[in-house]
Symmetry: C2
Subunit: 160 residues, 2 copies
DNA sequence: TAAGATTGAGCCGTCAATCTTT
DNA sequence: AAAGATTGACGGCTCAATCTTA
């Protein structure tokens, strides 16, 4: 195996890290300025909204790329804020299910317009659709390569 | 201005965030397993190595996208580890210069082979040179767009 | 008054240990 | 003994306040 990345690869790596950090920081800053919680909250609530009956923390772990203890504390905060609830699991009493509440669904709806605008402002503005599709296709190889087929979409709560 | 990002744009955004998080986590994990400090240390030492006489913290702030107080504490740790030294600035006695030490240069040299291999393993492996160049070009638009012309390269301490 | 930099308090992530259930 | 999940201790980041010099 070749251990020496080529110059284009090194440049792609550097720009992947830098561009994501910049764009993510800019988007998070806008959401924060609008009085909203971190994007992490959006991500986990979006996953939970897709599953009526709730999701096991161990499942969230693989979907969100977070360690178990981080899930545990993140769910604590979301629960304290009233956006999720914990449900005991009857088949396996070690486990539990985390489910979104109405409050959580409202937060998703409220955040999406600001989130959407920030994505357009800091990413979409710089590409036409074909370029965005090319970028998505290239980045997709990095994801499908090491993650089991987790669907990576950031689709809105409503397309309105 | 159009606030509604298209579907390809949303997909590109989601994959940008996810692929970077995955790749960065994988690379950092390899470096950590090899007994090395976080990539952040590599980044700042690399900047310092390019300037013989040292760099002002306020300058590092813009190059590394870090807040001043974080720079301050990061430099504390690097200084305690012996990799950098602080120099008083004579023209403007509010400021100072941070300079790399021999120990810091050695760390850069030691880390690069492991870092390089991890880049190839988690990114380079998935692209040929032309694809990597396309990816870099697309991502470059996000960077040049909002950052003043900071050169984003991750070039090695030695090309050997 | 503002710029460069640091510091204290509090929040969050990480590591290892723990608890419960299988 | 192993899996799912939580907890305590500790380190790093963030916010606001502070200190020094321009």
């Amino acid at each position: 195996m070749d251990d020496n990345p080529s110059r284009p690869v090194i440049l792609a790596w550097a720009r992947l890290v830098k561009s994501q950090q910049q764009a993510l920081a800019a988007v998070e800053a806008e959401l924060k300025a609008a009085g909203y919680p971190p994007l992490e909250w959006y991500d986990i609530l979006l996953e939970l909204q897709r599953e009526e009956s709730g999701i096991r923390p161990v499942e969230l772990e693989s979907r969100l790329l977070l360690a178990q203890h981080n899930i545990s504390r993140l769910v604590d905060r979301l629960q304290k804020a009233g956006h999720v609830e914990r449900r005991r699991c009857k088949e396996d009493r070690r486990g539990q299910f985390v489910a979104i509440t109405d409050s959580g669904r409202l937060l998703l709806q409220a955040m999406w317009p600001a989130y959407r605008a920030a994505i357009q402002q800091h990413v979409g503005k710089h590409f036409n659709d074909q370029e965005a599709a090319s970028l998505a296709a290239l980045l997709g190889r990095l994801i499908s390569a090491s993650t089991a087929g987790g669907t990576v979409t950031c689709s809105p709560v409503s397309t309105a």
